[in-house]
């Protein structure tokens, strides 16, 4: 385990997993994202911060082509996943999304049992050969998402019957059950108490050894705690992108400084 950690950290600053350049997004006539360049490194946690409505979720949804489901949305520019343009005609968005998983801003558990919610991804991707393996994945995912203790006795209860914070963790468990290479998390802790938040942050730190994680958050402390890279968005522009430490201690742009010291947002 320790060994792997070192290897992971060793690679962290080198390979680019996703590189986006010149990304523009329009919703109808609303120009929501203007010329964004971001590089997501392998085995690194990248945090997106910025005031509400600045386009964080929009950019996140570009990275696994979830914006395809929004009829009015137009994306231009280039996004490469391991050197391959994900908006290329030959790329199957379904396969892309299996590799780039997502936890949505609003918890959206399926109206199925807790077990079936988590087992959904592994089942459609045929990741297991028998029920025992599936059970193991479900349990491991729920444990990682810090939900196992609360639901282990009622895996047959419906997922929609959980509390808001439990639903959020269920969606995290559901997303990590498919073992994506990149995990996009849109405000995964917005409804969690401090203890569950700490557990999810621990999970993110652990995931970093295998995956890249992108997290959108409104908490500066959280961004500072869990991420190595931070991108600050403002009104659809990427204002500043760099080492988390630099952004928080030595911001270059006055807008960044104003935001992290609490003067805009």
């Amino acid at each position: 385990m320790n060994d792997m950690t070192h290897k992971g950290l060793g690679l962290a600053t080198q390979t680019a997993k996703i590189s986006a350049s010149g990304v523009q997004v329009h919703y109808g006539t609303n120009h929501a994202l203007k010329d964004v360049d971001v590089t997501i490194l392998d085995r690194t946690v990248t945090a997106f911060i910025g005031p509400s409505g600045c386009g964080k979720s929009t950019f996140l949804r570009c990275l696994n082509r979830m914006n395809d489901t929004v009829a009015s949305c137009r994306v231009s520019g280039q996004i490469l996943l391991e050197g391959e343009d994900i908006y290329d005609r030959r790329v199957d968005p379904v396969q892309l999304r299996a590799k780039v998983g997502m936890v949505f801003q609003k918890p959206n558990p399926f109206p199925k049992s807790i077990y079936d919610n988590v087992a959904y991804g592994p089942k459609i991707h045929g990741m297991t050969r028998n029920k025992a393996e599936l059970d193991a994945i479900v349990e491991a995912s729920l444990r990682k998402a810090a939900l196992w203790g609360e639901v282990k006795d009622r895996l047959d209860a419906t997922g929609t019957g959980l509390s808001g914070g439990q639903q959020q963790r269920l969606c995290i468990a559901r997303a990590i059950a498919t073992s994506p290479e990149v995990l996009l998390m849109d405000e995964p802790c917005s409804a969690l108490d401090p203890i569950a938040t700490a557990q999810v942050e621990e999970l993110i730190d652990e995931l970093r050894h295998q995956f890249s994680v992108v997290i959108v958050t409104h908490s500066m402390q959280q961004a500072a705690r869990v991420s190595q890279k931070t991108a600050f968005f403002h009104l659809g522009n990427l204002v500043e992108f760099g080492e988390t430490g630099d952004i928080f201690t030595n911001p270059k742009d006055p807008r960044t400084e104003a935001y992290i010291t609490g003067r805009i947002g």
Binding site: T69, R97, A98, K99, F110, G121, I124, T160, A175
Partner: protein, 486 residues
């Protein structure tokens, strides 16, 4: 005063109530609305309601009760044996009313004076001829009793008209005065008006329930009468349906029930898959352009009267099935068949199912689909595993409603499946359903006193129980699963 005139006066008083109460409320606080308990409009509406609702209720009650009272009074004019039988009694009083109306018409046209109309007697020449002269045709000569009763009827009706006008106007004015006096800054007009609105809502739902109860009760009494004449066990378990108006009928429900269920089953086999697939295509795959064209086109089918579908069954589907399926494969050579009616009812139900299911599928939140797609599911996996299960309760409800429509369909069965009651498995045979037999047992006969006609009510009751059961099942399913994705 005619009822119409009364309504006009009540309307005027109500509007006056609105205006006066509103003004008084405003004046009581010198135009400073904030000191009023409610917005000025509420005071106005309170005046409007008090001036109209009690008066209208009294008027409605009066209109219902007056004929009953008059009829009771007039019974004294006739020997007891004439008014004992309910149907004879109804006819008798219809005569009385017609003669009274004739006298009214005669006076109105100047053919008789008011005195004459009150005094005229049958021994002074034929009343029938005199009324015929003013355009009131009577079937038989007017008997002295009927004439006397008609004259008394006119008298009582005249008193009734005056009484009802006085009562309603007093109530309206009293309500108006009360509302004006109640109006003041502290009066809680808003709460009062809301109470009245609540009462109206309760009244409406009560009416809906009471009508259902009334329908059931009337069917039930007639059915019970049937069962006193014909053994219930025979009705429910006899395998033959052969009514015979000279007696000795065999009135077994089973062949009809079988035909009903068989035809419904075939229609559901046609309509459920096609309707559902159409709905899935429209809701999930079709572009907005396609959708805006195809959806109305499918729904056009729903607007076609069922008798037109019946014609289609009769001249197109029936002969087609007979010539290309039944005859070549040796299933018989009947033009009307269970298959014909089933298929055509199925077509009738396609838009019903597809349009309901389309709405239900659209109501599944987009976030469900996003969740599934975000895990790397394909569109069709998402539909199969997430959207349809989430929509299932609603879809089940739609399917069961379509089933009750199929069970209750009459016209298409008459024209497509024929009228022969038969217990058979061959879908290319003519069979018939409960609804068709209800119609055929009742046509051409208005005397409900033989088992052959009364059986229609027992059939109707059975049909009602079946469809009610289906609808309750549908409601139960929908309710049980509804909360799931909220």
């Amino acid at each position: 005063m005619s009822v119409f005139l009364l309504l006009v006066v009540i309307a005027v008083l109500s509007v006056a109530g609105y205006v006066l109460c509103r003004q008084r409320a405003l004046k009581s606080v010198d135009g400073n609305i904030r000191r009023l308990h409610s917005l000025p409009g509420y005071y106005g509406w309170f005046g409007f309601i008090l001036a109209s609702v009690p008066a209208l209720l009294a008027l409605a009650l009066w209109l219902i009760i007056q004929p009953i009272v008059i009829e009771r009074q007039l019974s004294g004019f006739f020997p007891a044996e004439m008014v004992e039988d309910p149907s004879a009694r109804t006819l008798l009083f219809a005569d009385v009313r017609r003669v009274a109306a004739g006298l009214d018409a005669a006076v109105a046209q100047g053919a008789m004076t008011e005195d004459e109309a009150e005094q005229v007697r049958t021994d002074a020449g034929s009343v029938r001829d005199r009324l015929a002269a003013v355009g009131v045709a009577l079937g038989a000569e007017v008997t002295p009793e009927v004439l006397a009763a008609a004259q008394e009827y006119r008298e009582m009706a005249r008193v009734g008209v005056i009484g009802r006008a006085i009562l309603t106007l007093i109530l309206s004015v009293a309500g108006l005065v009360f509302a004006i006096r109640a109006t003041g800054p502290d009066f809680r007009a808003r709460n009062r008006v809301e109470q009245v609105v609540l009462a109206l809502l309760i009244l409406s739902s009560t009416i809906a329930i009471l009508t259902t109860v009334g329908i059931v009760l009337s069917m039930l009494t007639e059915s019970l009468r049937f069962f006193t004449m014909y053994p219930a066990a025979d009705f429910f378990f006899n395998l033959t349906w052969s009514p015979n108006f000279r007696g000795n009928s065999e009135l077994g429900l089973i062949p009809l029930l079988w035909g009903t269920l068989y035809i419904s089953l075939i229609s559901m086999l046609v309509s459920v898959p096609i309707g559902l697939f159409a709905a899935i295509y429209l809701a999930e795959y079709a572009s907005n352009r396609v959708r805006s064209v195809v959806k109305p086109l499918i729904e056009v089918i729903a607007g076609i009267p069922t008798v037109v579908f019946g014609l289609f069954a009769l001249v197109t589907v029936g002969p087609f099935l007979r010539d290309y399926f039944a005859q070549p494969f040796g299933f018989g050579n009947s033009g009307s068949s269970v298959m014909t009616a089933g298929i055509v009812i199925g077509i009738l139900n396609i838009p019903f199912i597809s349009s309901l299911a389309d709405d239900i599928i659209n109501a599944v939140p987009q976030s469900m689909r996003d969740g599934s797609l975000g895990l790397g599911a394909t569109k069709s996996e998402t539909i199969k595993k997430v959207v349809l299960p989430a929509a299932l309760p609603g879809i089940m409800g739609a399917v069961l409603m379509a089933a009750s429509r199929a069970i209750g369909e009459t016209m298409i069965v008459t024209m497509g499946a024929g009228a022969a009651a038969r217990l058979d498995l061959n879908p290319f045979e003519a069979m018939t359903t409960i609804t068709v037999k209800i119609v055929s047992q009742l046509t051409g006969d208005t005397e409900f006193n033989s088992p052959e006609t009364l059986v229609a009510f027992a059939l109707g009751m059975s049909l009602f129980v079946i469809t009610l059961g289906l609808n309750i099942l549908a409601l139960w399913i929908v309710r049980k699963y509804r909360e799931q994705y909220e």
